[in-house]
Symmetry: C2
Subunit: 308 residues, 2 copies
């Protein structure tokens, strides 16, 4: 039951049709840690922050079993900052500002205390840094899950191809799957991507759910139909955190258990989008998570009798 | 086990990124009849065609138990014609040409032999004509299902509102649900639309599946992930035909049976898009349909244990 999470811890400023967040806490590793810690503790965090990252936010993570030995604090630099704007169709967004700050010289280190972790979640980050973390592990983790994005396909495709050969599960969204494979059909895209290294592929389709591909098998989980998506920031990372958190907690990496992991990730993501940033993730209880998983069961459950 | 289908029987000319169809058979009632006749016969068809509609096509429908007493043949006019073009994203299309021809003066008549039918499928048509068919029924059918489109919301909203009060199930796509309700969130849109008359609402999301709303319940069925969507024309009508065909065959209009009906409609629609026009619908066997329904079961089936 040990999980390493690599990614950003950052400040975000978000605009949606419903309001502006002001400067709030964000970052891929932050969302992954909040989600995963519902199912598994400790979460061994690897990231980098500046002098300006609030101490209370670190304490809030520690209180959830998030280990911070691998989080470097650069005392003379500011934390990574991203500002973005969503329109009514929350599936796309405009980046308004990106300030790399501490991220520019980030060189992730795996602390000795994290060695032997069985699960590794590589949040979206420069592929060479994701690879560096894999290479630092003295024993290869039981399962390596990787998130990435179109930016790295444009700017660091060679490195990305190397990392892909080292991971077990790749998570991308539908347009990234199309870009990575050169195929428009997601079924064809999955076939191509599964030749590039990963044995499992998760294609995230935002409000349209997620697909899991493995060999000839495919599984689909919808997103919960919500009255309002208030802020989709972090939904993908929360999904990833719930997914890998469930797998790490159960130590079962079968296709069947990955289905469950996808439903649990989807349930957590459905909370994440209800308020700005990590607000909702800090509030929810185990009972609320179970209630929502039951809603997923009700949403897709049907009985059918085939003709004899 | 008696079903009336109202809608168009027409010629289409379709362009997709994969080719051009030339002039082929289309029309909402054609697709509905092909789909429904897999599950229920007879299908009591109400439509209008011109002198140019091929006799073999009428015979092919009759061979599947489609009654044509309600299909008016105008000997001095041409059949309705539609030409359209799809791009790589098959969720939207451009209309290249529309020739109403026989449709301009269409006045549907319910033959005496159709009276007493328990199920009525109102395919996409001018709302006043849909209403006329309802009013001609001496006994109100057990279930009235209605398809419509944005064009009627723009041009005949008052009539549409009157028909909505008379039907049990409304089928629209996601953008139409938003237009009809003035709500962007599909959950909020469904709440509004269910106040307008229908007790059940199906929102079709094309490759992203379909949602069924009824009171506080919601059910979601994905579309089957396909290697290639060759031609989406008629997929919505085929879905509707499978849906109402299953309900008419089982005479069970419970929410649970509607879930099954949606899966069966989705399975048939997944065949429809594999070739131009009705080609694939003419080929498939009961075994192939069952195989595909089993693929839906596999696609969404998962087991989950909630924490105690």
């Amino acid at each position: 039951m040990s999980l390493i999470v690599v990614g950003t811890m950052a400040f975000d400023a978000i605009e949606t049709p419903f309001g502006k967040s002001g400067q709030i806490i964000g970052g891929s590793a932050t969302y992954v840690a909040y989600a995963a810690s519902n199912f598994v503790q400790p979460v061994n965090q690897i990231s980098v922050i500046g002098y300006d990252f609030p101490k209370e936010e670190l304490e809030a993570l520690q209180a959830r079993g998030v280990q911070l030995d691998g989080v470097e604090i650069k005392q003379d630099e500011k934390s990574f900052f991203w500002a973005g704007k969503y329109h009514m169709d929350m599936n796309t967004r405009d980046t308004l500002d990106t300030q790399l700050n501490v991220l520019a010289g980030f060189n992730p280190k795996v602390p000795d205390s994290y060695q032997g972790s069985e699960f590794l979640m590589l949040g979206n980050l420069m592929p060479s840094l994701q690879l560096s973390v894999i290479r630092q592990m003295k024993t290869r983790p039981k399962l390596i899950v990787m998130d990435t994005m179109n930016f790295w396909m444009d700017s660091a495709m060679q490195d990305l191809e190397i990392v892909l050969k080292e991971v077990d599960v790749l998570m991308v969204n539908d347009s990234e799957a199309r870009q990575l494979s050169g195929q428009f059909s997601l079924v064809k895209a999955a076939k191509e991507i599964l030749k590039m290294g990963p044995r499992f592929l998760v294609i995230k389709k935002g409000e349209h759910g997620a697909l899991l591909f493995h060999e000839k098998d495919v599984f689909f989980a919808p997103a919960l139909p919500l009255e309002e998506v208030f802020d989709p920031t972090g939904a993908g990372d929360t999904f990833a955190g719930g997914f890998v958190g469930h797998l790490a907690a159960t130590r079962d990496i079968s296709f069947n258990n990955m289905k469950t992991a996808i439903i649990k990730g989807s349930a957590l993501a459905s909370f994440c989008v209800e308020k700005f940033g990590t607000t909702r993730m800090k509030e929810i209880s185990a009972e609320q998570i179970d209630d929502r998983i039951q809603q997923f069961v009700n949403l897709v459950n049907f009985e059918i009798k085939l003709a004899e």
